[in-house]
Symmetry: C2
Subunit: 100 residues, 2 copies
Amino acid sequence: MGGRLKEARLAAGLSQRVLGINAGLEPSVASARINQYERSTHMPGVGTLANLGLVLDVPLPYFYAEDDALAMCILAFHRGSGAQRRQLVHLAKGINRPKS
Amino acid sequence: MGGRLKEARLAAGLSQRVLGINAGLEPSVASARINQYERSTHMPGVGTLANLGLVLDVPLPYFYAEDDALAMCILAFHRGSGAQRRQLVHLAKGINRPKS
């Protein structure tokens, strides 16, 4: 989870301090707390993680994706247009359909 | 999160007790604990949730997907064949590609 947080923060071009403050953490602990989350020495609650996701424009499941390709598909769904999401869903429905 | 757990358990045709025991919970508390998780009156740790995911054949991010369509895409990726995953990834790469 910590790796995904760092990955998303760097992609958004934010410092640990700015990310923490924008996600509602106290300015005095923001940087240290984000650093702990990224090194997985301290685990944020789901609520805090959801706030971080809002700032970074990534959905909550993204943080829990161990597989890089799955993380990328989750991001694509989250950031895709309506039409692009329908394409993903159409493909996924075909995959999930029980084999007759 | 509780809703996804119940959804996956029912789809797998397991009772709360059987699911809990198979995920390593004490038999004496398995049923009650899964019931609490499903009603979100008690939140499992990430480790417990990962074990539940192994029993139910769903990845950890699935439990945190609020959007049904995203949950379905996550399942499709997880359960899809290599070729099906490559299709999803190909589509996702196109969506994630920065607009020039």
